[in-house]
């Protein structure tokens, strides 16, 4: 088990390195100089070739690419001082660069935006697990009944709609057509500054959208897994032994059924933590996803780089955790 985790960690590090290199090279060899956006910005669009050269030099773009990549990696571990034109910017470890727009260390802004994204992700995931799994179990137990069929087909319908349209409609109807006073001012309001009530009110609709949509999918997963599990031989054995239905369903069936659900959930949740771009864009939540969208539109390369790297790391960790949890839940799986 330990050896397996180490092995997975190594391969994870390898993937992260590869991703970071790919992004680095992408900007380095992009159609325009990677210093162009900052030069344009700082000079109010009067970036001449001479000025661009100054920026390229101080940012190190006239050095060999491997040398600069080395500095970038080193900065992540020990921090560095970045020079942009004649100004020095202190960038402590882990240094992910300095935002071209705000001139603040990217890491600080990333950290300051994490609560928003995490609030969305945790709240949404909580809702869809809370409703998805029990409904799925219930449907599996009543498999084949009218209620089951109606539920399954209506949920199939909802989950076939692209998520962003579902979220958009939720937003339009619940803030514009039928505004709910307390909840229609969506956005992220930190608990520390605005109190838990405002925080809850601002995020509620985003959670509802994410929750309902996710719930339909998790109901289907859970139902499918439950149906599968309940048709296993050991369940028949348990029934034959005369165990109470409750025990059969929840102790034997659900435990087996949860395994695939946990797997999917782990990856899903990782994706959410890495940035919920559509949810944040639609509900105006200033989290990591919206930030990366704005960074792309504002050509803020260090931020684009950092958000891509961050999400890769989160997804890799999520994958690893899922595999570990999988082996714990399902004794048949041996990690090696």
């Amino acid at each position: 088990m330990f050896a397996y985790v180490v092995k997975r960690l190594i391969s994870g590090v390898l993937v992260v390195t590869l991703v970071s290199m790919a992004i680095f090279l992408l900007f380095w060899y992009g159609p325009s100089s990677p210093a162009q956006p900052i030069c344009d910005r700082e000079t109010s669009n009067r970036c001449t070739q001479t000025k661009l050269a100054v920026y390229e030099k101080t940012l190190g773009y006239d050095n060999p690419v491997y040398e600069e990549y080395g500095k970038y990696v080193k900065g992540i571990f020990v921090g560095r001082t970045l020079t942009i034109a004649s100004n020095d910017y202190e960038c402590g470890a882990p240094c992910l660069g300095v935002s071209y727009r705000t001139k603040q260390p990217v890491k600080e802004e990333l950290v300051s935006r994490m609560p928003a994204t995490f609030s969305v992700a945790i709240g949404g995931a909580f809702l869809y697990l809370l409703f998805g799994v029990p409904i799925g179990v219930a449907a599996a137990r009543r498999r084949g009944t009218v209620a089951d069929k109606a539920l399954v087909s209506s949920f199939l319908f909802i989950s076939s709609i692209p998520y962003y349209l579902f979220a958009l409609l939720t937003w339009l109807y619940l803030t514009i057509t039928f505004p709910i006073p307390f909840f229609s001012d969506t956005g992220y309001f930190s608990i520390a500054q605005n109190g838990p009530l405002k925080w809850f009110g601002g995020l509620f609709l985003a959670w509802v959208a994410l929750g309902i949509f996710g719930c339909t999918q998790y109901t289907r997963f859970t139902r499918g897994a439950m149906v599968e599990a309940l048709s296993e031989d050991y369940i028949r054995t348990a029934k034959a032994k005369g165990l109470p239905t409750r025990t059969i369903v929840y102790k034997h069936g659900l435990r087996a059924a949860l395994v695939p659900v946990v797997t999917i959930f782990g990856i899903d949740f990782g994706t959410l933590l890495a940035g919920t771009i559509f949810t944040e864009r639609i509900f105006d939540i200033q989290g990591i996803g919206y930030w990366s969208l704005q960074a792309v539109q504002g050509r803020d390369l260090p931020v684009v780089q950092a958000t891509a790297l961050f999400s890769a790391v989160v997804l890799i960790i999520a994958n690893l955790l899922v595999d570990v949890v999988y082996s714990v839940l399902d004794p048949r799986v041996r990690l090696s």
Binding site: D40, E42, T43, N45, Q49, R101, K103
Partner: protein, 595 residues
């Protein structure tokens, strides 16, 4: 003529205003129905009629009738990222300067809003508006002794001189207004690298400024009659000596000397200002300290802000918005009354045909007739006749010396037949090819470009519109840019830095000027511009007005497509809802919360 006016604001406007406005850089407009400024509505305009100066104005500023103290004013800035840095030396944007100059950062001079809504130039840190010598090559300002920093220490003449010296460091402050004015006009400034880049932390190597007790004297490289206006820029204010004001860190939390100080600043997100208890009203002829707190929220979503402002809930009653979506104008106009303020922004939108490539004046005029003004405004989310009004020349309405003339006798409007006739007269081959760029990331820009293309192609032109992913200015202002080399039609939005033709015409039409995207270069015109600066002050305004007319009539090198206005929305509990005519922003100095 003693008709001077308000002040500044500038190019970064176009940048600051974000994606939506970038569009208009390429477009703009200038025809339409009313011909006047009020295009169909009976709304009172925050217009500019030529301001005045009052060198003798003393602190404290007159109380606003009915003003109360206390409360928090929230200012929403839709689609506007705000300043990246609060360092007074680096700021040159309407948003940053309007906030900081009104509330936190004092300079030599400033503007007060008079009872007619006109900006008046009055003293600030200086005791008067400065004393020039005969040929405006030397200006002396006496710094008042009762102004203080937020830490209670007095603002000294040395600190003011150091602040001014900082504006010469164009590498540490590449976007600062000093790069345009200090560098051009101050003596030996062009060769001085500044305190940071030149490794001269105490500014000893530059002798263009002399401090004698409370007096500072600035020597000029050439006559600079507008120094008193330039003094109203916050970059002409003090900075703490030495490392305390070292960039870039100083820009996160500059030391305030106005009625408010920085409580917290998150670039592109939020700026919170709180009362500065060290500021004394007696020392300041124009600022007030009514509200307890100002919260500026940058980068807001326009439609969301519109919803808030029109809902009149507890959030919006003490809020101000610096913009209104065009899809809300009709509702807002009916609902808000005098809490919807229209303010001229002293800006002109232009199209600039390349003077070297489009050499025939008739072709340039044909372009002006081929531009579907009102359609472009609508498509780009403007309200015709309200946020955009037809323009006849470069100098915006109300600027001292502005002539009321029309190049062709009447306002140029969209007229494809006339355009075709002009092309025929020019004897050029039709369709005449035009290459231009548009900012494709913004659907509004794309829609506006579609209208332009439609109008041009109906008028005997053939349009190649190159989509770009960045601000068109990046293309237009870079002579080496490969896209730029293919263009024969560009554009610029220009705003006056102060109400003198000297901040409009030379910037746009002097040979070799950075923003001269028309590449217009006529020796006689260049000479006339140099000549005007040496005229007696009272003749200059008229001279600029005449030059404006002469250029448009004789050469028509630039197509003014619109004069621009801003819309501000004030909450029901905001007292004295007015605009600041000097800069095209809400009048932060005089706002209060009704109690």
């Amino acid at each position: 003529m003693e008709r001077l006016d308000s002040m500044k604001r500038n190019k970064p406007l176009a940048l600051v205003a974000g994606a939506a406005l970038l569009t208009l850089a390429a477009c703009g407009g200038g025809s339409s129905d009313g011909g006047g400024s009020n295009g169909g509505t009976d709304r009172e305009f925050g217009d500019q009629e030529g301001g005045t100066k009052d060198a003798a104005r003393k602190g404290p500023a007159a109380e606003i009738e009915g003003a109360a103290t206390g409360g928090t004013i929230t200012v929403y800035l839709p689609g506007d990222p705000g300043p990246d840095s609060l360092d007074p030396t680096t700021g040159w944007s309407v948003t940053g300067n309007s906030i900081q100059q009104a509330l936190t950062s004092r300079s030599l001079t400033q503007y007060a809003r008079d009872e007619n809504g006109q900006p008046v130039l009055v003293p600030d840190l200086a005791t008067d508006l400065g004393t020039p010598n005969d040929d405006y090559t030397e200006w002396t300002f006496t710094i008042r002794d009762d102004a203080t920093w937020e830490d209670g220490k007095p603002v000294t003449a040395e600190e003011v001189a150091f602040g001014i010296c900082r504006s010469l460091d164009s590498e540490a402050f590449p976007s600062g207004a000093g790069t345009e004015y200090s560098k051009t006009y101050f003596k030996d400034a062009a060769d001085y690298e500044g305190p940071y880049t030149g490794k001269d932390p105490n500014c000893e190597k530059w002798d263009g400024i002399a401090v004698d007790g409370q007096d500072i004297t600035i020597s000029m490289a050439k006559p600079f009659p507008d120094m008193d206006y330039w003094g109203a820029f916050m970059t002409m204010g003090p900075a703490p000596l030495g490392n305390a004001s070292k960039p870039p860190n100083y820009g996160n939390k500059p030391l305030a000397n106005g009625p408010y100080k920085v409580d917290s600043f998150k670039p592109n997100e939020e700026l919170v200002l709180v009362k500065n208890d060290q500021w004394s009203a007696d020392s300041d002829p124009a600022r007030h300290q009514y509200a307890d707190e100002f919260v500026f929220k940058f980068n807001q979503d326009q439609s969301k802000v519109d919803e808030i402002m029109l809902s009149d809930n507890s959030d919006s009653q003490t809020a101000v918005s610096t913009g209104l979506g065009s899809d809300k104008y009709t509702d807002a106009n009916g609902q808000l009354g005098d809490r919807l303020v229209q303010q001229t922004s002293q800006c002109v939108s232009t199209l600039t045909p390349d003077y070297d490539q489009i050499t025939d004046i008739n072709v340039r005029k044909a372009l002006a007739y081929a531009y579907p003004y009102e359609d472009v405004w609508i498509a780009s989310g403007e309200v015709p006749g309200v946020t955009r009004v037809p323009a006849n020349s470069i100098m915006p309405p109300g600027m001292a010396g502005k002539k009321d003339f029309q190049v062709d006798g009447e306002q140029i409007t969209y007229d494809p037949e006339k355009a075709k006739a002009l092309l025929e007269e020019a004897g050029v081959e039709m369709p005449y090819p035009i290459t231009m760029v548009y900012y494709e990331v913004d659907p509004l820009a794309k829609a506006a470009q579609d209208q332009i293309t439609k109008g041009f192609e109906a008028s005997g032109f053939k349009v190649k519109a190159v989509p770009v992913q960045e601000s068109p200015y990046n293309i237009w202002l870079d002579p080496d840019n490969k896209v730029n080399k293919t263009l024969n039609l560009r554009g610029v939005n220009w705003c006056s830095d102060w109400p003198s033709g000297s901040t409009m015409i030379p910037s746009l039409l002097r040979g070799g000027a950075v923003y001269n995207t028309a590449r217009f270069d006529e020796a006689s015109v260049n000479d006339e511009m140099d000549n005007i600066a040496t005229l007696p002050l009272e003749e200059q305004a008229d001279a600029w007005g005449s030059l404006d007319e002469e250029i448009m009539t004789d050469y028509f090198p630039i197509i003014p497509t619109a004069f621009r206005n801003d819309l501000f929305v004030f909450g029901t509990k905001i007292g004295n809802p007015t605009g600041d005519g000097s800069i095209g922003a809400p009048n932060y100095k005089d706002l209060y919360v009704m109690q």
